[in-house]
Symmetry: C2
Subunit: 210 residues, 2 copies
């Protein structure tokens, strides 16, 4: 009997663990939409708990505070952005264009959160600021890894680094302009960025870009 | 006698008013250096008052609080930046290059303050944020006024606006990279920016830039 209990118990426990992960994923998905579409102060964890069909208290079992929840959501969003922007397949030029499409698609989907994060809205939130800076740094590192072998010794690496940093500033500013005006197509946004990158590193990329 | 008093009194009052203006200018100059070289929290108004040869209390006669002093200093810095970046003489191309030199010269001189303001350091300070955004907007307006007549109807104005906004993001990101690494000359910085702008608006500026 004692033995039977021991061998049968793992199944329910396993199901409970799975449910916990599912619940967490569900809450993060709801959080992604809420924080993507509304400013932090306007997001109600109570409304999110209700939407998930759980008590407000249970939400805080998964995330100790609203800010912890927010940071977990930001981390998911950063992973989502990086997965799209840093594609693993294709030539460097194909990866660049695919990455730009993914970037602006992300900006459209998460416009409010993107705008808040990039518009100095995280000055008072060091965790969020570190996440934004870290994500930008990872994109820059990946671009340098792609571009530097193509450049070889035709352009000094300090110039490549500075130009790519400037280029990322171009993409971010263009995204913020799009959020304000929404009057450029994604193709137009990508085309402007491709030209800006071409100009940043001309000897390296002549003929490489579409 | 009464008449003599009345006619002679304005002179001393005028001198006192002049001294007040001089003192204010002196305090702002000391503040520009202090806030330009050190983070806000490390700037001591007591030290600035001592340097000016006045009591700490008298400084607060000119600026009611440290934050008011900071905002007045930022306003002076913004005016200084705009005066250099938006030169009034020369062809558009000459103004552009002169403006870029002035911009990076300003960044060198006010590196700490520039870095803090542009790196989302003002998220918790709406007054400072508004000043930074307003200064960027004035630079953008001036550039649009310069560029749009040259572009004519070859590029739609929404594209000109978006590309110039992206370009300003490029310049700002390059300036922040320079603050971190300081391994590009001013000529290299300006050359990268000129190429980025050329790429942003090709049909308009072909042959216009140096």
């Amino acid at each position: 009997m004692g033995r039977t209990t021991r061998t049968t118990k793992p199944a329910p426990r396993a199901r409970v663990r799975l449910a916990v992960d599912d619940r967490r994923r569900q809450l993060l998905a709801l959080g992604l939409r809420a924080f993507g579409e509304h400013p932090y102060d306007e997001v109600s964890t109570q409304a999110i708990a209700a939407e998930a069909g759980i008590s407000h208290g249970l939400l805080f079992h998964y995330f100790p505070s609203k800010h912890d929840f927010y940071v977990a959501v930001l981390q998911i969003a950063a992973d989502e952005l990086l997965a799209g922007v840093v594609p693993r397949e294709g030539t460097p030029a194909e990866r660049l264009v695919a990455g730009l499409h993914a970037y602006f698609e992300f900006v459209e989907r998460r416009a409010v959160a993107y705008g808040t994060l990039l518009r100095a809205g995280v000055g008072s939130d060091p965790v969020a600021k570190e996440l934004v800076d870290g994500t930008r740094e990872r994109i820059l590192m990946q671009m340098r890894a792609d571009v530097e072998p193509l450049v070889g010794d035709r352009v000094e690496q300090r110039i490549v680094r500075a130009a790519l940093r400037g280029y990322i500033g171009y993409v971010e500013a263009l995204a913020l302009d799009w959020i304000d005006h929404r009057d450029l197509t994604r193709e137009e946004l990508v085309a402007l960025c491709v030209r800006a990158l071409e100009a940043s590193l001309p000897p390296a990329l002549d003929g490489m870009l579409p």
